[in-house]
Each structure stands twice: as structure tokens, then as C-alpha cells.
């Protein structure tokens, strides 16, 4: 018991020193509703980065690509490849959705790890990756749900709902449950990974400010990329699943 309170005190001290702020938000009031200001600010920065770099790189495309254009062509090829693998031949219209999903999550995650947000002090909370707020991830996951319903309904009309009793009608509850677990797992996976990653880095930095956190930071970058890819791939897979024919 003594040990426990002692360790709690130590952790408390560390907590104060490192300035970890979990669940702290910089609230804005918009028409009687509250919003998380820090999430909006960082998401604007991310959107600005994406739009700015895309505009600069694609402004004047050359037949033989160089530099930025080459990179953006590579990214586009990658997104098309992911979409094509998951959705099939009719992937064309879904490239913007999958691509934006991937790029937004990827740049958000990496901005949390690479941009020195901590320089800017907020009255409450702190600036971090937009994806470490549950609102963002749930928003993206719900959009994915809407997207795959839209894909299925436009492809097959009301026959789309036939998939709920597909192998046997006994599976109806499970099939319905799937529509809830999909966005839930998508959003919580991303949220948990990014939040945990940032917390681990912050705690490690507070413990050992030199060298030691670097591998964890690199691992964090890797995880961030993987999470973006997983989210985009799963979104594409759900869309493809609802578009494919059920026999």
C-alpha cells in the first residue's frame, strides 16, 4: 500500500513535469455548442499542408516528372493500387475518398509526431495530431459507413439489403451488428493507436530526455503510417465488399 502511494506520487510528479494532458480540450463556443479548438486548428494546418503541397506539385505537370510531381504521382499510383486491390475494376470514383482518407490520416498522424506543436501554448489542452481526438476518428469512420452504404445502394439498389440474410437468415443479427462494429473498430483503432503513441513518447521524453525516446518516436512514425494505411485499406475493403455480388 505504501509502495503504491509512493509510486503514485512519483507518477504524479512525472505527470506534472511532463505536462501530459489527457482529455484536456481547448473549448470554443459556437452557437451554444462546444468544439475542440485544438483539433480544428491542427486539422486546418493539415488541410493547408495537403492542399498547398498538392497545388504546388501538380500546378504544371510535365511529361517527364521531377521532384514533387514525381512524388505525388507515386502517391496517386499507390492510392489507386490500394483502391483497385480492394474495390476491383470499378475503383475509379472511389479514389478521391480513399485517397483523402489515407492522406488526411497520414499527414495528421505525422504532424502530431513531427511538427513542434508544443511551441504554441494554448490556454487549455495542447495542440496534437487531429487524429488523437475521438471526434475526428469517429467522423471519419461514420463517413466510411455512409460511403459503403452509398456504394452498395447505388450499385444494387434495395437488393443491397439482401446481404443481411445472405448465407442464412439466422445470421441477420450478426450482419446488422457488423454495421455498428465496423465504424467502432475503425475509429477506436486509430484513436487508440495515435493517442497511445503520443503518450508513450511524451512520457519517455519526460523520463529520459535524450536519445532513448528516438527509437520510440521512429516506431511511432511507422505506426502512424501503418494506421493510415489500415484505415484507408479497410474503408476500401468495406466499400468493395458492399459492391461485390453476393451469390
Amino acid at each position: 500500500m505504501n509502495v503504491l502511494s509512493c509510486s503514485i506520487n512519483t507518477l504524479k510528479g512525472l505527470y506534472d513535469i511532463s505536462g501530459v494532458e489527457v482529455g484536456q480540450h481547448f473549448y470554443w463556443q459556437i452557437g451554444g455548442f462546444q468544439v475542440h479548438g485544438q483539433v480544428l486548428i491542427t486539422s486546418w494546418v493539415v488541410i493547408a499542408i495537403l492542399l498547398g503541397s498538392a497545388t504546388i506539385a501538380v500546378r504544371n505537370p510535365q511529361t517527364i516528372p521531377t521532384g514533387g510531381q514525381n512524388f505525388f504521382e507515386y502517391v496517386l499510383e499507390f492510392i489507386r493500387d490500394v483502391s483497385k486491390t480492394q474495390i476491383g475494376e470499378e475503383y475509379g470514383p472511389w479514389v478521391p475518398f480513399i485517397g483523402t482518407m489515407f492522406l488526411f490520416i497520414f499527414v495528421s498522424n505525422w504532424s502530431g509526431a513531427l511538427l513542434p506543436w508544443k511551441i504554441i501554448q494554448l490556454p487549455h489542452g495542447e495542440l496534437a495530431a487531429p487524429t488523437n481526438d475521438i471526434n475526428t476518428t469517429v467522423a471519419l469512420a461514420l463517413l466510411t459507413s455512409v460511403a459503403y452504404f452509398y456504394a452498395g445502394l447505388t450499385k444494387k439498389g434495395l437488393g443491397y439489403f439482401g446481404k443481411y440474410i445472405q448465407p442464412t437468415p439466422i445470421l441477420l443479427p450478426i450482419n446488422i451488428l457488423e454495421d455498428f462494429t465496423k465504424p467502432l473498430s475503425l475509429s477506436f483503432r486509430l484513436f487508440g493507436n495515435i493517442l497511445a503513441d503520443e503518450l508513450v513518447v511524451v512520457v519517455l521524453v519526460s523520463l529520459v530526455p535524450l536519445v532513448v525516446p528516438i527509437p520510440v518516436m521512429l516506431l511511432g512514425l511507422f505506426t502512424s503510417g501503418i494506421q493510415a494505411l489500415i484505415f484507408a485499406t479497410l474503408a476500401a475493403a468495406y466499400i468493395g465488399e458492399s459492391m461485390e455480388g453476393h451469390h
Binding site: 503504491l4 502511494s5 503514485i8 482529455g23 468544439v35 483539433v39 489507386r80 478521391p96 485517397g99 475526428t136
Partner: protein
């Protein structure tokens, strides 16, 4: 874990001391003022766990449960799972980003890449289909070669003819000369023969006379 955090944050909302004046705006890095750890009524729940289960997760959980009071001083609520207007705003931002990126990046660059691909394919195909052109060029080359060959052989024939004529002329000339010399030689030879025969004739006459004389004295 999530429930714990949520529960703790809710408990904190009720137990927090309402709105002490905010002092931290100008503080450099540490935004949390250090306050003594208040004993919460919740603590027995955590501390009553058997001590041999004091895993790090329990410590972390309890620290999370303990630590927020200092934060809750300042903010009315602190929670991870705090859904509000941010969610629809993020949806709108995402949709805006999707359309903007589609207009700025995916569509133009994708179209450009597809056009380039088709152009390259077309060029490749046209390169494959130049066999007709190659054939035509080959025919042309063969015609040129044939013409050149014909020209060369004509020139060769002409030259051959000319040289032959020349040679024949020379040969004829030589033959004429030789014949003339031969005639001359033959003529002189005949002359000599005639002369010799003539002289022989006279000698023969004398000789025959003598022979006759020698043979016929008896008869005389």
C-alpha cells in the same frame, strides 16, 4: 480502462472545486500547477485491490484517477470521450478536403497520367506498325541498288567494248604489219629461190653437158 477514465472524469466534474482564478496563462511549459494530492472518496476502490496485483496498469490507472484533480481545478471537465460539435465539423472538413483534393490533385494528375500512358502506348504501337514504312524504304533501297548495279554494269560493258575495239584494232594493225613483213620476206625468198633456180639451171645445163660428154664419148 475507458470506462474508468470516463467514470473518473465524471466524478471529477462533480468533485472539482469550482473555478479558481486562472493563473497559468503566462507559465512557460508546465501548464499544471502543483497542488497537494487530494484524497478522493474514490480511492478505496483502487487501493483496496490486493497488493500483489499492483501491476503497472493499475498504477497508471490510479495515477490517471488521481492526477486529474489538479487539472480539474481549472477546467470544468476533462475527458477523452467527449463528443460534441467537433465531430460534424470534422466531417464537413473532410468532405471539403475530399472535393478540394479531387479538383486539385486526384482528377487533374490522374487524367494527366492516363493521357501520358495512352500516348506512350500509342507511340509504342505506331513503332510496331512501321513495318510498311520499313518495307517501302527497303524497296527503295533495293531499287537504288539495282539502278546503281545496272549503271555500273553498263559502264563496265561500254568500257569493255571500247577496250576490246581498241585491242582488236591494235591486233589488226599488228597482224597487217606482220603479214606485210611476211609477204616481203616471202617475196624475197621467192626471188632468191628463182635466182637460185636460175643459177642452178645454168649450172645444170653445164653439168648435164659434162655428164653427157663423159657418158657419151663412146657413142661419139
Amino acid at each position: 480502462m475507458a470506462n474508468m477514465i470516463m467514470a473518473s472524469s465524471k466524478a471529477l466534474i462533480t468533485s472539482s472545486i469550482p473555478s479558481s482564478p486562472r493563473t497559468k496563462l503566462s507559465l512557460p511549459q508546465i501548464p499544471i500547477p502543483k497542488l497537494p494530492l487530494p484524497k478522493l472518496p474514490k480511492s478505496p476502490l483502487i487501493l483496496s485491490l490486493p497488493s500483489n496485483l499492483k501491476s503497472i496498469s493499475v498504477i497508471l490507472a490510479s495515477s490517471l484517477a488521481f492526477a486529474p484533480p489538479s487539472l480539474a481545478e481549472e477546467i470544468e471537465k476533462a475527458s477523452l470521450f467527449d463528443f460534441n460539435l467537433t465531430l460534424p465539423i470534422m466531417m464537413a472538413e473532410f468532405l471539403f478536403l475530399m472535393f478540394a483534393l479531387d479538383k486539385l490533385y486526384f482528377s487533374p494528375l490522374g487524367k494527366f497520367m492516363d493521357e501520358r500512358d495512352s500516348a506512350i502506348k500509342e507511340k509504342l504501337n505506331s513503332v510496331k506498325d512501321t513495318s510498311a514504312e520499313v518495307k517501302q524504304l527497303e524497296d527503295q533501297a533495293a531499287a537504288i541498288m539495282r539502278a546503281a548495279r545496272a549503271e555500273i554494269s553498263a559502264a563496265l560493258n561500254k568500257m569493255k567494248k571500247e577496250t576490246q575495239l581498241e585491242v582488236e584494232k591494235k591486233i589488226a594493225e599488228g597482224r597487217k604489219k606482220v603479214e606485210a613483213e611476211l609477204q616481203e620476206a616471202l617475196a624475197s625468198l621467192d626471188k632468191q629461190k628463182e635466182e637460185t633456180i636460175k643459177s642452178l639451171d645454168s649450172q645444170i645445163a653445164a653439168l648435164s653437158d659434162e655428164i653427157v660428154k663423159k657418158v657419151l664419148p663412146v657413142s661419139n
